[in-house]
């Protein structure tokens, strides 16, 4: 009889939901309190935060709506208002929400309704991030502060891209914020945020050691629900105690020999590439867990701050630019060529058995050249991989049988190679 696998859930991650709920509740109430509101895409939320604004984060909002079950209804509203179903699901989600606001359409999850912003800080990693903010401008005249954030396709391009991004922050983002808020940019507050972030990221990175162990003590699903404090809740003082509690629990698990996967640890250690399927975490857990498979690491939803020691509170703007575009910045891993090197490093460091490339049908940001990335890594490391086609929040783009068959093929390939 086969082993019956199940996930040992972490208790610390239960604290996350109230923190996230508080974040969005404060944002919802901001206008009533006379506070300025920004919406942001990419990592640009840190600038409105420095100005004391309440700020939304495009992907964070999508994760939130996915989590509370609001996404599908909002996307349907968007489609009813003319959005096309092949458009980025995050784009449709936001258009649906704005449609509900504009036409006062009641929705089943009213907590998904946000105040419209005084400023859109449009970080443009992916071109859709620009399209959605442009559309808000056209529809409602909402002011936009754009920020082009290119992936680094060739290593030698990094310095000039870093300079370009830094210059846009200075020339465009900050003056826009100063004008909207009617006060000078608060560099001290930005330093404070980075100081909190540095502490939180340092503790969080210690948690990473528990992904490297065999058996593993936590999973990508735990990780997914606990990432907000270093992303769109950056600088929140509660982020430090949250990660301290998480680290404590992981240490205790190790001491007591409680692996993430009951009863005795995982059978397959899986690399996960691409977005987190926010609206379908349970569904995906149920696809991996019975097979004894644990997803451990990836590109997008990974450490975010692999080198917190480089966060420099004395030079906050530079440090934000360097986070993405410094020598160890994250933007280089976003382009496929560098990602082969990066994922190769993860395969070795985390003893990975197989790769699952989550290909979003509506967002190609992490999809680029995925099939070639899998092929390159298989040839170099002998690690098999599969591409699964789905979406982060749109149930219409998920085909269970396609995903099940490909995952099964992956597990069988790993077994086959182990027998060699």
């Amino acid at each position: 009889m086969g082993v019956e696998y199940k996930i040992n859930r972490l208790a610390a991650t239960n604290d996350m939901r109230p923190m996230v709920d508080r974040h969005w509740a404060e944002l919802r109430a901001a206008k009533e309190r006379g506070e300025k509101v920004a919406w942001a895409s990419g990592p640009s939320f840190v600038f409105p935060y420095a100005m004391g604004m309440k700020c939304h984060f495009m992907a964070g909002y999508a994760a939130y709506c996915g989590g509370i079950g609001a996404a599908d209804e909002l996307m349907k509203l968007a489609e009813a208002s003319g959005e096309l179903p092949e458009t980025c699901s995050y784009h449709r989600l936001h258009m649906g929400m704005v449609e509900a606001v504009k036409k006062e359409i009641p929705i089943k999850k009213p907590e998904a309704i946000l105040p419209l912003p005084d400023l859109l800080v449009a970080g443009r990693y992916c071109t859709e991030q620009s399209h959605y903010s442009e559309s808000f401008y056209r529809r409602m005249g909402i002011r936009v502060s754009p920020l082009e954030l290119p992936f680094i396709f060739e290593k030698e391009d990094r310095p000039r891209l870093r300079e370009f991004v830094y210059r846009q922050i200075k020339e465009n983002v900050i003056p826009n914020l100063e004008e909207v808020c009617g006060k000078p940019f608060d560099y001290d507050r930005l330093s404070e945020i980075i100081s909190v972030l540095k502490k939180a990221a340092t503790i969080r990175n210690e948690c990473w050691e528990f992904f490297k162990t065999k058996p593993v003590y936590w999973t990508l699903w735990d990780y997914a629900v606990s990432m907000a404090p270093v992303i769109y809740m950056m600088g929140d003082p509660e982020s430090v105690p949250f990660y301290e509690k998480l680290l404590k629990e992981l240490r205790e698990r190790k001491e007591k020999g409680i692996p993430a996967m009951a009863p005795d640890g995982e059978k397959y250690r899986i690399y996960w590439d691409g977005w987190i399927p926010w609206a379908f975490l349970g569904k995906f857990m149920r696809k991996f867990t019975p097979n004894g498979a644990v997803c451990l690491c990836g590109r997008y939803p990974w450490e975010m701050f692999p080198h917190p020691e480089l966060l420099d509170t004395e030079h906050p703007l530079e440090t934000v630019a360097d986070w993405m575009y410094g020598e160890k910045g994250l933007a280089k891993n976003m382009a496929p060529k560098e990602s082969v090197e990066f994922i190769g490093g993860l395969i070795e460091e985390y003893s990975i058995d197989g790769l699952v490339m989550f290909s979003s049908k509506s967002c190609r940001m992490w999809n680029l050249s995925q099939m070639d990335v899998v092929d390159a890594l298989d040839k170099r490391y002998g690690i098999p991989g599969v591409v699964i086609e789905a979406d982060m929040i749109d149930p219409a783009m998920i085909s269970d049988s396609q995903i099940d068959i490909r995952l099964q093929a992956l597990f069988e390939t790993i077994d086959g190679r182990r027998r060699r």
Partner: protein
């Protein structure tokens, strides 16, 4: 005139054979430039032949192992052509990776599977406010120029570049003249012929194309056309990056509509705006790129509405309606389209959207939509 059109049809009916033959004939190296904004003039000034990469003529086969089915037609078709070795005559390729996400598919796939002798990535930024954008763009263009100099071992002087810009500007003027005559005498050319004329400009050395256009224009100026006054004029808009199936253009005309002008990439967008040859030529190319009109949804412009521009063009041509041609899985157009449609509705402008794919699509469905659109306009 017919001789010129036959030559153009020959070039575009088999661009692979034509471009490969061009290389043999001239002994020059071929650089494929992925549409839409690679400044071909710099390639030309390096004494290389730039050709604009095209959507292929076959269904995708091997390409499925490299790109998903939910990428647009030209992305899938180009990758397919490349990995099947159909583009072996290209000595170099240039990709503008910030135009849309899908162009970012290419660098790794091409490098791993069919790396040409020269490959360059351009980051050409969106037209955002701030001096940093122009400065970065200049830097990007300068880096492009330097990489070509390294490839050829020959410096590109300002004079070289100005000569190339001049030749390209001449081509733009001639194409404008072709369009001007068509506006005056709609129906003088079939819409498919006009698209072939512009497409051939993307494939042929501009010097050769200029000669053809001069001859064509002479013929057009002499040709009389039976009045199409009873036919309803429509303006096709969109179809970014790639050719439209000619059958659709034929169908529009067969429905009794006539196309006096267009807002298509393989159309008026390709030759819009000249580069200034006075002053620094790299700056001239940058300024051409930074021109906001014709509005392109890939360029991050929000203070001008594409719908307003299309309506202006429609009115200037006394046209009665707009046919949006949206490439399936083209996010820039797809994201913009609802606002475009809203503008049409606000302004009571008749508009219909046709979705096109690389592989054979249901032309019957398209026909039905066009037929009802033509009837709405009172044109049948």
């Amino acid at each position: 005139m017919q001789k010129v059109l036959s030559k153009i049809a020959e070039v575009t009916s088999d661009p692979y054979a034509y471009v490969a033959g061009l290389k043999d004939r001239t002994g020059k190296r071929i650089i494929g430039c992925f549409p839409m904004y690679v400044p071909e003039e710099i390639v030309h000034a390096a004494d290389l032949i730039p050709v604009v990469i095209w959507r292929g003529n076959e269904s995708v086969t091997w390409g499925h192992a490299h790109v998903p089915a939910y990428d647009c037609g030209i992305v899938r078709s180009f990758v397919d052509d490349a990995v099947r070795g159909k583009l072996g005559f290209m000595d170099g390729m240039v990709f503008h990776v910030r135009q849309c996400l899908q162009v970012g598919e290419f660098p790794l796939i091409i490098e791993r599977n069919v790396k040409p002798a020269y490959m360059k990535i351009l980051y050409l930024p969106p037209i955002y406010p701030g001096d940093g954008v122009r400065s970065f763009l200049l830097d990007d263009l300068q880096s492009f120029k330097t990489s070509l100099e390294d490839f050829t071992g020959k410096k590109i002087s300002d004079d070289d570049l100005k000569r190339s810009i001049d030749i390209y500007n001449e081509n733009r003027s001639l194409l404008e003249r072709v369009y001007e005559i068509r506006r005056e005498r709609p129906g003088i050319l079939k819409a498919r012929e006009v698209m072939q004329i512009v497409w051939s400009s993307m494939l042929m050395p501009k010097e050769d194309h200029n000669e053809l256009l001069e001859e064509l224009i002479k013929g057009m100026e002499k040709k009389t056309v039976e009045s199409k006054g009873d036919r309803v004029k429509v303006i096709p808009v969109g179809c970014l990056c790639q050719t439209l199936q000619f059958d659709i253009l034929d169908m529009i005309e067969d429905m009794g509509m006539v196309i006096p002008d267009d807002d298509l990439y393989i159309g008026s967008r390709y030759f819009a705006n000249k580069a200034n040859i006075n002053g620094n030529p790299i700056e001239a190319l940058a300024d051409r790129y930074l021109t906001k009109i014709p509005l392109c949804p890939t360029k991050g412009v929000w203070d001008i509405h594409w719908g307003d521009e299309a309506i202006k063009q429609m009115k200037a041509n006394n046209a009665k309606g707009i046919i949006s041609i949206r490439v399936k899985y083209c996010p820039p157009h797809t994201c913009y389209y609802p606002d475009f449609k809203s503008k049409m509705m606000e302004e009571s402008v008749p508009e219909v959207m046709i979705e096109m794919e690389h592989e054979i699509m249901s032309l019957e469905g398209v026909k039905t939509r066009l037929q009802s659109f033509a009837e709405t306009l009172g044109g049948v």
